[in-house]
């Protein structure tokens, strides 16, 4: 295939000269039309003057637009994204260079949506595999005008060949997933709804990341389907009741949860979804099931499945690159980009708040105050083990310890926090030990540091105090035990309005307060008691 390459550096060593001709350096004056396709492969030049460099990069965008207007719309036009191989941090105004690079890359993605002939190649996917010293070989750059190390040319050629063959492939439409040891760890039928590995510590954590990644894949337009040997009722119940489940019934467009062979199930679903078998990818941890589908349905792609849950995220990346990569964006994608941009604008708008409360209000915070139960108990114990900074007494408890205290009649709440920017999950807890029918003592109060700075601690404690009041408690005691790390909480109970009744030589402070009136809470939080 005859190819013409627009370039601003020496890249012949990378793209070769077999049927390939090159423009002059950053020269668009001559555009041949006797070729089969065009490639635009510019690199960010070396220029310590970042303002000048930014302007130069911006000019590439205009030149690319001019060239594209001039070539036949029927010929493929492949554009490499720009990567700054030699980012200098000199005066602080280098952001202009990064901005120009990002702007160029956004423009390329847009072009791929508006011009049917344009496909874009994410060059950073190649460069991100190497460190800065490997990417750039200054000796060869000075001799040849090629910033990209010529020693990487064999790697590059292998990568580029794969890109070209993948570009020719059609994007798959549907991912069919097994459940046990594929979407979560363990076997639902044996381990039960709360026994499967999902959420919490590893390995459950790995499956949470995996499910979140798959959710994003489905949002990008890939159809998710389930094919599992299980009791359907068990699975439906797990989807409904396991609080760590990210992917639930509504995320799957088709499902076959039964004891039939998977090949028949997958064919059935292809018919139901009205898609070809050749647009399906099937994932299963069981090699025997994979082999069966490979044998009976050779059109379906059946990649090997990772042995270890921690390999799921790199596996996800491979899946995307092999089967679900986008070289062209759709109008819908462009709309999304538009939404994303308006979000950035909105954020910029919000940085101008004068009043802190107004800012808090704009965050649209949701605070769920939840009594301890079997689902959140492991997380509660974990927080007592790990939280150091906002922790009034720093008492460490195991899961068994927490359960024991619940059995003894302690009142334990945790708090789940989310706002417009996302869900932070369960990030705080309070342990209350009843002293009498009317009096209660705060044994433990802690919040994860990632939610601090928004007054959440205040709202949480006051909500709990109001609940205690409704339950008939009238007196509260508490203590502060200083550690090397919890200095920021030394005055917390004072600010809450409690009276320090005693302080010993180690700095331990004892507090008391009547619970007489309802505590007022700022109205910038949406508080739910579950």
């Amino acid at each position: 295939m005859k190819t013409f390459v627009f370039r601003n550096q020496t890249i012949e060593a990378f793209l070769g000269d077999d049927e390939t001709t090159y423009s002059g350096y950053d020269d668009i004056s001559m555009v041949p039309d006797d070729v089969d396709r065009y490639i635009w492969f510019y690199q960010v030049p070396v220029n310590p003057d970042s303002q000048q460099l930014a302007q130069e990069i911006t000019s590439y965008r205009d030149k690319l637009g001019l060239v594209l207007d001039g070539v036949a719309a029927s010929k493929p036009f492949i554009i490499f994204s720009l990567v700054n191989l030699f980012p200098l941090r000199l005066t602080g105004d280098e952001a202009a260079v990064e901005e120009a690079v990002a702007d160029f890359n956004r423009y390329v993605v847009e072009l791929s949506g508006t011009h049917a002939q344009v496909k874009w190649v994410d060059f950073s996917e190649f460069t991100s595999r190497y460190d800065a010293d490997t990417l750039v070989n200054w000796k060869y750059f000075m001799m040849s005008q090629s910033l990209l190390n010529p020693k990487l040319r064999h790697d590059f050629q292998a990568w580029w060949q794969r890109q070209e063959s993948e570009m020719a492939l059609q994007r798959k439409k549907c991912l069919v997933l097994d459940l046990d040891n594929t979407l979560w760890g363990g076997v639902l039928g044996e381990d039960g709804i709360d026994g499967i590995q999902l959420g919490g510590e590893y390995p459950g954590k790995a499956y949470s990341y995996w499910q979140h990644a798959l959710l994003q894949l489905s949002r990008s337009g890939v159809i998710l389907a389930v094919c599992s040997k299980n009791n359907e009722a068990d699975v439906l119940e797990a989807w409904e009741k396991n609080p760590h489940m990210v992917l639930r019934r509504e995320h799957f467009s088709a499902m076959r949860i039964n004891w039939q062979d998977k090949a028949s199930n997958i064919s059935d679903m292809a018919t139901e979804l009205n898609i070809g078998l050749d647009s399906m990818v099937f994932l299963d941890d069981n090699p025997a099931e994979r082999e069966l589908v490979k044998q009976l349905l050779p059109q379906v792609e059946v990649p090997d499945f990772p042995d270890k849950p921690y390999q799921l995220m790199p596996f996800f990346k491979q899946l995307v690159e092999r089967y679900f990569r986008i070289y062209k964006v759709t109008q819908e994608d462009l709309d999304k980009t538009q939404q994303y941009r308006s979000n950035i604008l909105r954020r910029a708008e919000q940085s101008r708040f004068v009043d802190f409360d107004q800012f808090l209000y704009s965050l649209d915070m949701q605070l769920d105050v939840i009594p301890a139960d079997e689902h959140n108990l492991p997380r509660i114990a974990q927080m007592t083990q790990k939280t150091n900074q906002f922790n009034l007494t720093t008492r460490r408890y195991s899961e068994a310890d927490v359960q024991q205290r619940l059995d003894q009649g302690w009142i334990i709440y945790c708090i789940r926090v989310s706002d417009r920017f996302g869900d932070s999950g369960i990030t705080g807890t309070v342990f209350l030990r009843p002293v009498s029918d009317e009096a209660v003592h705060i044994d433990t109060l802690l919040l994860s540091c990632r939610i601090l700075g928004k007054g959440i601690e205040d709202a949480f404690v006051k909500t709990v105090l109001n609940l205690l009041r409704l339950d008939g408690y009238r007196r509260l005691t508490a203590e502060y035990i200083p550690t090397a790390k919890n200095g920021q909480t030394a005055e917390f109970y004072d600010r809450l309005g409690m009276e320090c009744v005693q302080q010993d030589e180690q700095g331990i402070k004892n507090y008391a307060m009547p619970i007489s009136t309802v505590f007022e809470i700022k109205n910038c939080y949406n508080i739910r008691v579950l």
Partner: protein, 74 residues
């Protein structure tokens, strides 16, 4: 494999030639242009695990000078 054989193989692959001989030079080989000269240098650096300075690379204009340079490095 001797150094000579090794270098000839590298030259054949880098310059994409069917036949190579020990009298190969920049003058009598069209494919041995400035770009391929650098590709040759980078291949030699990797194959013999050496570093060549730009001045040294510039001197390696034919097969025998390449061999002389490599021998001086090892």
């Amino acid at each position: 494999m001797t150094i000579q054989e090794n270098v000839l193989n590298i030259m054949r692959e880098t310059f994409e030639l069917n036949e190579v001989s020990t009298d190969l030079s920049q003058k009598n080989c069209e494919a041995w242009d400035s770009l391929h000269h650098l590709m040759l240098a980078s291949e030699l650096e990797d194959a013999f695990d050496i570093e060549l300075e730009p001045e040294e690379i510039a001197e390696m204009t034919d097969f025998s000078r390449v061999i002389a340079m490599l021998e001086s490095k090892m």
